[in-house]
């Protein structure tokens, strides 16, 4: 298992390198100038030139890239061009919020999606099946930012159950932190729930026709046990695969969710860095995202082992 992860980490290096190079070049090719953000639109040409000199932006791009790589090799992501704060600090400050939101979103998606899918499959064509299918179609059709605003309107403004501004509760205030996590996590999880329910439903319908299920039935195994143990366990493999793949979509949706619910997080950081042409922060964020995606892939592999013992032995 350890050897497997070491191998994984090695394959990460060229991927990371390619992603980084692309990000480094792209952010610099896009027109725009951090100097104008810092110095304002009345800035004099001398002041802009001085800023470029101080930040190394007057150097040819390959030289900037080499400087960046040598810093990165020492584990240094540099400082933000706009705020002058270390990039690593900025990322680490908000990373817990993004992780918390992503995992809570996955939790909502799986914990609701799987049972819904199973229930729909069991009633196959019955009214619960229809209800679940219509409900999940709704989940699929709502863009994350629309559902977010609607949830805020209903649960925060009309009912007053949750705060509108859900950001920044310290870990020492677990109740407050949970309250501020609830709506964003549900918003993120709902779309995923719809997919998970459909994947589960489809898988269940197939597997329920399998020979071993018929055998189990013939043996007189209770129906509940057949569905939840014999069949579902096999369907879960598909769910785990889907969840791993869906994670990158989740990251995209979490950006919108973070903006609407005003949660701190990597997504908000990315948007801010893009708007302000904060090259160094953007580069750092690309590194962070790349590592995150690779880790999630590894975690997915680990889950296979838990769900399906056959994976471990092979």
């Amino acid at each position: 298992m350890l050897g497997y992860f070491a191998q994984r980490a090695l394959t990460l290096i060229p991927t990371l390198f390619a992603v980084l190079t692309l990000a480094f070049v792209l952010v610099r090719i896009v027109p725009g100038d951090p100097a104008l953000i810092i110095l304002g639109d009345q800035a004099s040409p001398e002041a802009i030139a001085r800023f470029h000199q101080e930040t190394g932006l007057d150097q040819p791009i390959w030289r900037q890239y080499l400087a960046f790589l040598s810093e990165l090799a020492q584990g240094d992501l540099g400082v933000s061009m706009i705020s002058n704060r270390p990039v690593l600090t900025s990322i680490m400050e908000v990373l817990p919020y993004t992780l918390e939101l992503s995992f809570a979103g996955v939790f909502v998606g799986v914990a609701l999606g799987v049972p819904l899918g199973v229930i729909a499959a069991r009633s196959n064509g019955g009214w619960t099946d229809w209800a679940v299918r219509i409900f999940t179609l709704g989940g699929l059709s709502f863009p994350a930012f629309v559902s977010a605003v609607m949830m805020l309107l209903v649960f925060s403004v009309w009912l007053g159950w949750f705060p509108v501004i859900s950001s920044g509760k310290p870990i020492t205030d677990p109740a407050g932190r949970l309250m501020s996590l609830a709506l964003p996590a549900i918003n993120l999880g709902l779309v995923m729930m719809a997919y998970v329910a459909r994947v589960t439903r489809g898988g269940m319908m197939n597997i329920m026709r399998a020979d071993y299920i018929r055998t189990a039935r013939a043996k007189g195994v209770p129906r509940r046990r057949i569905v939840w143990k014999h069949a579902l366990r096999n369907v879960l493999l598909a769910v785990v695969t889907f969840t791993g793949l869906y994670f990158s979509v989740l990251i995209g949706n979490s950006v919108l969710t973070e903006i609407v619910f005003n949660r701190p997080g990597l997504g908000k950081l990315v948007i801010g860095a893009l708007e302000r042409r904060d090259y160094t922060l953007l580069q750092g964020l690309v590194v962070a995202y790349a590592i995150l995606v690779v880790l999630v892939n590894a975690l997915t592999d680990l889950c296979y082992g838990v769900v399906d013992p056959r994976v471990k032995t092979s």
Partner: protein, 517 residues
């Protein structure tokens, strides 16, 4: 079944209990701003709309704009209790108020701090506004409470440069030297509120300065929250989680917000003048008759209709209304007469119309205006090609002289000299080494702008400024469309404590008199 019911009950109770707790302490004003994060609180570096209001309650100048006013003719004593000038306005002596304390343990304000601050503002390495202070020769501390500023040449409305705005804000020398680059997040001033905590991407918290020289503030503090999403800010204002919120700058928002119980809309100056700058060196716009056709085809009253009466006011000149030296005696075109415009084009040798290219920002409010203009010009056979790009790309490309027509929205320090110099003096032409924002390559009023700058007699100065505006308008370097005011939403419980008509900091500032009912 029973177990699940009791779980639901427990959850509901927990939720109710959690939401029943007050979210914020009383007496703290919650101020929502449309931004991702703080840029800087360093007053000599703060150039963006979201950063400016903060400097309004952290710092003082030697003099100040009265709260709620943008009248540069009515500046009041601030850190200076009195001042005098020599005959030609080149030597200014300020007597400081005694016993004014900086925040925390940074001691009393002395002439040394003032000398340090103004030198800092004049230094391009530490200030975004250095060029405003070019005319300063020396700044001396005569004694601990007296400062003398000597100018190389008289400056129009010099007092404005030592007001509580941009470079005029006075910082603690000791704190600025100690903190260096961190001064942007840990600033030390003399204002009614001081920084308590900065949480990146989220908020800056301020507490009342009990030693404020005008008296302790009525409020306990301010929570300045960064909420980029317009709809989230609106919902938070409705839910009472914000007391003040930066509005969406259009009529629809104003009407919807006004209609909500307990919420009012504050509309204030300074107005940003919206202008189309026409590149006078790029064919076919190098032909004044073609520019005249464009200016005639544009319809100013339609823009005001489009934006809405509350937020738009008519433009009167190529500098914003209310600027010292503003003059509206020359008619500014924008009649919206497509037939006349088409005829002008035909007479100029373009019977089949013309095509103009324009790099345009994707900011929704500005894009809407450009599209209205596109439709108006089309009626006269002028095909305005919009190349829509994101806002930073727009700023970069128009400075590379890549747009024949530049739609720019701006307010500047309210003295005509600043606006005229930056937008219409040939030294500011884009693409040149001294470029700022002269997109039209206008050079017809250089002499008047320079003479007015050096003119000591206010009446003659005003005449020169008026003449400069006349020449620029008659040469059609730019077509003023309308002026855009600023809108904020506010809970009825907030009492600013002053008459909010205008705010140089582009957002209402919180003073010692501001209160929550």
């Amino acid at each position: 079944m029973r177990r699940s019911r009791s779980v639901i009950l427990m959850l509901t109770t927990a939720l109710t209990m959690a939401s029943a707790q007050p979210l914020f302490a009383d007496g703290v004003l919650k101020y929502g701003m449309a931004a991702q994060d703080l840029g800087t609180m360093d007053p000599h570096r703060a150039t963006t709309t979201p950063d400016k209001p903060i400097t309004g309650w952290l710092f003082n100048g030697l003099v100040r704009f009265a709260p709620g006013s943008d009248d540069i003719g009515a500046l009041e004593p601030d850190l200076a209790e009195s001042w005098e000038r020599n005959e030609d306005g080149t030597v200014w002596t300020f007597k400081l108020r005694e016993g004014v304390k900086f925040h925390q343990d940074y001691g009393e304000v002395t002439a040394e701090d003032v000398v340090y601050s103004l030198n800092r503002s004049a230094n391009p390495d530490s200030s975004a506004f250095a060029s405003d202070y070019d005319a300063i020769d020396t700044i001396e501390a005569i004694d601990p409470l007296t400062v003398r500023v000597t100018l190389k040449t008289p400056v129009p409305s010099f007092l404005g440069l030592v007001a509580n705005y941009h470079g005029g804000n006075i910082v603690s020398k000791k704190a600025a030297e100690e903190r260096g680059a961190d001064f942007g997040t840990q600033p030390i001033g003399t204002g009614p509120f001081m920084v308590e905590e900065y949480v990146p991407q989220e908020r800056v918290s301020f507490v009342a300065n009990p030693d404020y020289f005008r008296g302790a503030p009525k409020l306990d503090g301010i929570e300045y929250r960064y909420i980029p999403s317009d709809s989230s800010r609106d919902l938070a204002l409705q839910a009472g989680e914000l007391d003040v919120s930066y509005g969406r700058q259009d009529q629809e928002w104003v009407d919807a917000t006004k209609a909500r119980p307990g919420i009012v809309v504050d509309i204030m100056r300074p107005a940003e003048l919206q202008q189309f700058h026409l590149n006078t060196s790029s064919p076919p716009l190098d032909n004044i008759e073609v520019r005249r056709a464009v200016a005639t085809a544009l319809n100013r009253s339609e823009f005001i209709q489009f934006v809405g009466d509350s937020l738009a006011q008519p433009a009167g000149s190529v500098v914003p209304k209310g600027n010292l030296g503003w003059d509206d005696s020359t008619p500014i075109y924008g009649e919206g007469d497509p037939e006349a415009a088409a005829k002008m084009l035909a007479d100029a040798g373009f019977p089949d119309g013309i095509e103009l290219s324009m790099v345009q920002t994707s900011l929704p409010t500005m894009l809407g205006i450009a599209q209205v203009a596109q439709a108006q010009l089309a009626l006269a056979g002028i095909n305005l090609q919009l190349d829509v790009v994101d806002h930073q790309t727009f700023h970069a490309q128009i400075r590379e002289d890549r747009s024949q027509v530049v739609y720019y929205s701006a307010a500047r320090f309210p003295v005509a000299d600043v606006f005229l110099s930056q937008f219409f003096h040939s030294a500011s032409t884009v693409g040149t080494p001294t470029a700022t924002t002269n997109f039209s390559h206008c050079d017809v009023a250089d002499q008047e702008i320079e003479s007015a700058r050096a003119e000591a007699d206010p009446e003659k100065q005003a005449e020169l400024w008026a003449l400069a505006q006349k020449k620029i308008i008659e040469n059609i370097c730019a077509v003023p469309l309308y002026e855009q005011l600023i809108a904020y939403g506010r809970s009825e419980d907030v009492d600013w404590g002053y008459d909010l008509q205008a705010e140089m900091h582009l957002g209402p500032i919180v003073t010692e008199m501001t209160d929550l009912k």
